[in-house]
Symmetry: C2
């Protein structure tokens, strides 16, 4: 338990949605845990995560596990009409399901995946705290017409609109399809997590209703993004289905559209440190709905080990 | 001079815009010339072009030549208002210039580039004929908001709407910016040039007025593209500014959008064999305008050698 974070939970150390954009230095560690030979990541992996703000772990899940996840995914998407509409986002310009939220609550296997030690155990080590799911979802980006997702820091939104106090959260993307440079992979700016870009502009009411399709408030300016890209470059996360990408809550990321016939799908889990639970939003009138920002976790998740399929 | 092509110029050996899409085998060679040790491409390069339908030639132009071309390009775009509107295409949703047509007629240096032996001399060898410019343009795909260009075979359109009789044309893209996998590079399906996909649907009047922004008629179906991509895979053309990509008129290609800050720009020349000059359109009421389809060339271009800058 980190007393500092607890004591200052309501203090806004990352002010944003300001009259003018500004850069400030990150005030939190990226890796909170201390590496030992027993740690679930190697020392080199730990250092790479700290330096780049992300880590790609190839072939974490076996072919059998991936196949079971793909089947559950297909069955949920086929039965999309049974899911509550507030948990679904459709592709702009079509009815195709793009995102299913509250994934851990909708499907036992994906709940088990979220609690798997190969993901959650590693995140717990990096954050040096018990964790809970701030958000969980299944993303599906179809072939031919998959739209882009513009550059952003997740933390900026989670802080401003959800009330996440500090940078002590990590996202995990579990690839359910093979991903290469051309079918809209996750792009990241290595090292960008060390700078907080406080964004310009007040948060409109119900910003999330449009920002999930096309984000306009809470994103860095073209000028900032150009400077960041020149300074840090742009990497992308490729790998076979079963690959896991861990990335810090403040790493700038986005993805291009996808005209290839090859769809892209992943399960996406946001782990927040138990000591970093959300408070009132720092720059919005009301918090976003629970499917975007879990506010009622009663205890940390129970991490499980062993094969899933 | 190829008598076969001349004699059958008005015969439609590639019927398209049909009630139903269908695949047919290409009826023309890809490489018309015969390789000798004096040829302007190596035997391996010639074979690669024949097999894949494209060839990437890195560092064809020197840094000084590239820099001179970039300066001319910037000055033309800055003076865009002086160019005739029919020669300009703007980015959907903005006023930024995306394409300047009739490039060889608008700028002396780009005219010289079009006639450079390092491009036109190689194309003349591959086509085994004198060549003229069917189309020439400067493409500019901005950073952040560069839109995708959907999969298509150029020849399908040039045959249907411009009256190009046979597959005896090659496009050259000269990169004026560095291009990598992430900033919307040209994607190609290697080997796809051997199959002609006759497209479904009648050509609307003035199809080019919308198809240059978003093509809907004259593109293969999702099903065809999926089968092609499974069969051939997808490659992309990357390289530093000064790289030249030669590709056959029937190679399926397209490009993704680009949210990176890095723009993409190239000069684009379509060389048609002199013996393959356009006739009446094969599947449209009237030919497209001259900026898309040159119809009045009086003689082949005069190829020049030597440094340009």
């Amino acid at each position: 338990m980190n007393m500092h974070a607890l004591n200052t939970a309501n203090q806004d150390v990352y002010p944003t949605r300001l009259p003018q954009e500004q850069w400030m230095e990150r005030r939190d560690p990226t890796v909170w845990g201390k590496w030992t030979p027993e740690a679930p990541l190697t020392e080199a992996q730990t250092k790479a995560f700290e330096q780049n703000g992300y880590l790609i772990l190839n072939d974490v899940f076996s072919d059998e596990e991936v196949s079971a996840l793909q089947q559950e995914s297909a069955s949920m998407r086929a039965g999309g009409a049974d899911l509550a509409p507030e948990n679904l986002i459709t592709e702009p310009g079509s009815d195709e399901v793009r995102t299913i939220f509250r994934l851990d609550e909708q499907n036992a296997l994906f709940d088990r995946l979220a609690r798997d030690s190969r993901i959650a155990g590693r995140v717990r080590y990096l954050l040096d705290d018990e964790v809970y799911l701030h958000q969980s979802r299944l993303n599906y980006k179809p072939g031919f017409t998959g739209k882009e997702f513009y550059w952003h820091s997740d933390f900026e939104t989670w802080h401003a609109e959800d009330g996440m106090p500090r940078m002590r959260a990590i996202s995990a993307s579990v690839l359910l399809t093979d991903n290469d440079a051309l079918n809209g992979p996750l792009m990241l700016m290595p090292g960008s997590h060390q700078t907080f870009v406080a964004c310009a502009g007040e948060t409109p009411d119900n910003n999330h209703q449009t920002s999930l399709k096309k984000q306009e408030i809470g994103v860095p300016s073209h000028d900032s993004l150009s400077r960041m890209a020149d300074k840090f470059g742009i990497d992308y996360a490729a790998g076979r289905a079963g690959t896991v990408i861990l990335f810090d809550c403040n790493t700038l990321h986005g993805s291009n559209g996808n005209i290839t016939p090859f769809p892209r799908s992943n399960a996406f889990f946001v782990y927040n440190a138990w000591s970093n639970r959300v408070v009132s939003p720092f720059a919005a009138k009301a918090p976003r709905p629970a499917f975007l920002s879990s506010r009622d976790a009663e205890h940390p998740i129970a991490i499980e080990s062993g094969n899933m399929a």
